[in-house]
Every structure is written in C-alpha cells, then in structure tokens.
C-alpha cells in the first residue's frame, strides 16, 4: 500500500458501525484499491457490519454510496452502507419552555423524600434533594436537604435546606418555630415568629434569610410559569 492510498480512505470504528472517510475527488478505481487492503485487514469483522461513508465534498456522498455500496456488499459482505447521520436539530429555547410548561411534570421522576411521622430530639433526616415531612420536627431534631424542606406540621428543630450552597432553596412549615434555619451557607438563629399560626416560608433575599407569611407573601406567586424545582 503506498502513501497516497492512505490519504484516500480512512476507516475507523464508531459505535456499532464502521466509519469510512473517502476522498470523492479521486477515481472509483483508486478508491476501491485503497479500500480493499483496509477491509481485508478487518477480515471477519467486516461481515454484516454497518458502514457509514463520509465523502469529503459531502454533496457527492450519495453518488459515492451508489458506486461503493454494491462493491462493499459483494466483496466484503457488509450489511448496509449509509450516509452519516444528520446533525441534531437545534430546538429553539421558546419551544423548550413550551414543552416544560406543557408536560414537564408528567414525565418528571420525583426526587423528594417524603416522611410521615414525628421527628424526635436526636433524630436526623437527610435528603439528597427535597424533603417533605408530614408531621412535626421536634426541638433537638434535625432536617437536612439538598433542596427545599416542607414541613406539614410544626418546625421546632433545626432545618438546613439547600445543602451545601443552593441559596434558592426554601423552608416552609405550617407552624414555623425553628431553633435554627440554614439555607445554602446562610444561617439564621432562633427566629421568633410570634405565634402567627399561619404557614410561613423562609427564603434568601439579599444574602439574608427572610421569613414571610406563606399565604400572603408566597414568593412563587410571582413566577410566570409553573416550574419544576
């Protein structure tokens, strides 16, 4: 095999196919002569293989396949000869947004840990992402989550949301009386909510944790689209 033949064709394995790059400006005979030694080296591996032909002026690809395809099938018993797959289409952002709004939650696999019952002093609940506790978190107990913490009961222990650095996380409780709350890296100690009795939510605003009435000042009311958290 001479050096010019080396430049005519290039053969490599890609996925479950053989990727054959050819210089379509050269004559059919020259190409065939260059292909034969490359495929002979493969031996049995070429049998039933899928071959993708990529010609260097890509416009001539169809023509090259038409001529080289039957030759390869006959001589080396390959299964099929095809064009390189088309590039992935770029989907417009507006369309993604539309899809998200349309059916995002239908296909969304839950990453929330849902716990029912009372978390007592000395117990610690850790969740990779969101944490929902249907019950109370007693003084001395701890809840730690990578995402949000929702407590459908009284929060009187320690809650750490958005661990380690997610400052968009929130902590919500029907009765909000924590000994300490942490969101991301921000800590607030002993929030005295003054027995409002209404559900309250804690989130980060201007690098500080603020607690507000969930029904009156729900921060998610401002969102234009429903979002998956």
């Amino acid at each position: 095999m001479n050096t010019t033949d080396e430049h005519l064709v290039k053969l490599k394995g890609v996925g479950d196919s053989l990727w054959l790059s050819v210089d379509a400006t050269r004559s059919l005979e020259a190409l065939q002569n260059a292909i034969i030694p490359a495929f002979e080296r493969l031996g049995q591996l070429a049998v039933n293989a899928r071959v993708i032909i990529d010609s260097s002026p890509s416009e001539e690809c169809d023509q090259v396949i038409e001529t080289l395809g039957p030759f390869l099938k006959e001589r080396f018993r390959v299964k099929e000869v095809s064009k390189p797959p088309a590039d992935k289409k770029t989907v417009s952002k507006a369309r993604i947004r539309h899809q998200d709004v349309g059916n995002a939650w239908h296909h969304y696999r839950s990453e929330a840990l849902v716990i029912a019952g009372r978390v007592r002093s000395g117990q610690k609940i850790e969740a990779k992402k969101h944490l929902v506790i249907m019950g109370d978190l007693n003084p001395g107990a701890e809840a730690v989550a990578g995402g949000d913490i929702l407590i459908l009961g009284t929060l009187s222990g320690k809650a750490q949301a958005g661990k380690p650095d997610n400052e968009t996380a929130i902590i919500m409780a029907l009765q909000f009386r924590p000994t300490q709350v942490q969101i991301g890296g921000i800590v607030a100690a002993g929030i005295s909510s003054g027995e409002s009795g209404a559900p309250e939510i804690a989130c980060v605003e201007n690098q500080a944790i603020v607690v507000c009435d969930y029904l009156k000042d729900n921060p998610f009311k401002r969102l234009t689209w429903p979002e998956v958290r």
């Binding site: 007592r120 002093s121 000395g122 109370d136 003084p139």
Partner: protein
Amino acid sequence: MEGKVIVMTSGKGGVGKTTVTASVGAALALQGKRVAIVDMDIGLRNLDVVMGLENRIVFNVVDLIQGRCKLKQAAIKDRRIDNLFLIPASQSDDKDVIKPENMVWLTNKLRKEYDFTLLDCPAGIEHGFKNSIAAADEAIVICTPDVSAVRDADRVIGLLYARSITPKLVVNRISPKMVENGDMLSHDDIVDVLSIDLVGLVEMDDQVVVSSNTGVPLVTNRESKAGMAFQRIAMRLNGQPDLPIENPMVQRGFWRTIGKKLGRRNKDAK
C-alpha cells in the same frame, strides 16, 4: 400469670424518677400487688434512702446477677408496706459490670415472683439506660414542665420506640399557678410535643422533700396532692387505664372567682 416489668426513665436528671418510682411502687403494693423496685443507678444509689431502707442493705443487684446471693436475700422488704421489696444498687461497683443479657435473666426471675417490677433508670442514655430498657415490657417517661426536660424526654421516647417499647408519660412538678400565669409549660404543650399517652399529672408538693428525707412513703399521706396523684397513676397501671386524669388547678375562693369573672367582663367591655 407473669408480672410486668416497667422502666421509669426520663433522660434528664433531677426530674423525680426516683420519687415517682418509690411512690408508684408503694401505691401498687398498697393496692395488694407484689412489687419489686430495682435501683439501676449502679454507683450512685439513692432509692434506698428515699424508701428509708439504707441500713438494711446486705446484698445488692450486682451480687444477685453475679450469683453471690439469691433473689430472696437481695430483695429487702419495706418497713411499712408488706408487699413492697427493694433490690438496691451497688454503691462500689462500676456501672459496666451489668450487661443487657444479665438484665433479661434478672427480669425473667422477677416476673415469676412479683406482679410489678419497677426499674429506676439512671439519668442519661448510656450504659445504665440501655441495661434498664433491655428487658422492660413497658416504660414510663417522667418529664417536668421545662424545655430541657421535654427535649431529653423526646430523645428517650425515640430510643424507646426504636426498641418497640411504647412509653407513657407522667408530668411531674406542675405548678398550677405558674402555668396559669404563662410562666410554665402546660401539660397540653408537653403532650403536644411528645405525643404519647398521658398516665398522670403530679403537682409540685413540699411533702415530697419531707417524705424523701424521712423515708416515709408519700402515698400514705392523704394530705399530699402528689401522693394522691401517685395513687391514681398506680391505679391506671393496675387495670384501670380509663381513670380520668385530674388537671392540677389553682384553688380559688368563691368570691375571688366571681371577682375575676367580673373583672374579665369589664376588660372585654373596654
């Protein structure tokens, strides 16, 4: 029928475990049951003093477990109440000499002899606590209306549930006046946090100190509010679980009550 083994625990020290154990034990014995009280606080025994039996101790629970004496030798009979026995703790041994499996052996022995065995658990959740709950059928958690006591009781309740023991709650040392003024947690607040069945409310009572120092059982004193509360706790444990729980109230004269009501009405009118 085999007897019951009940552990009296609290987590926090100084909430009245020893007093409650001695008093409830005495009350059960007065109701005709055979009762053994075991002091599990190895190295820091004081149940013998509270029961006034400190000068009769020959053998203790460690001797019994290590086979140096028989059950009848270690169980000291009370001076006043016939069916009441104390198995004292050792004052000189280290607390590690008893293991949970020893307790299972001991309680199996005690169940055959006594209708009720009360274990006075030491404070904390370490070795002594683990030994005490290893062989218990039931548990009573004693809590005072303090935030710290509630938190410790909560921890202990979690540990008891982990061992499949459903605890019951006694709230000790309630001062009705302070509760009314909002200076003390009410028993409702405590039950709200701990969420276990309440078995008794015991009022703060100066007679407890007198009784502990003299070794005279509190439950024999009909003047003592705490003594009567312990009697009722014993009745609830002894086959009357539905006996209503009396809420300690501030005693008020007729005219004062009327005056207060009128005063409140005036306030509302403003």
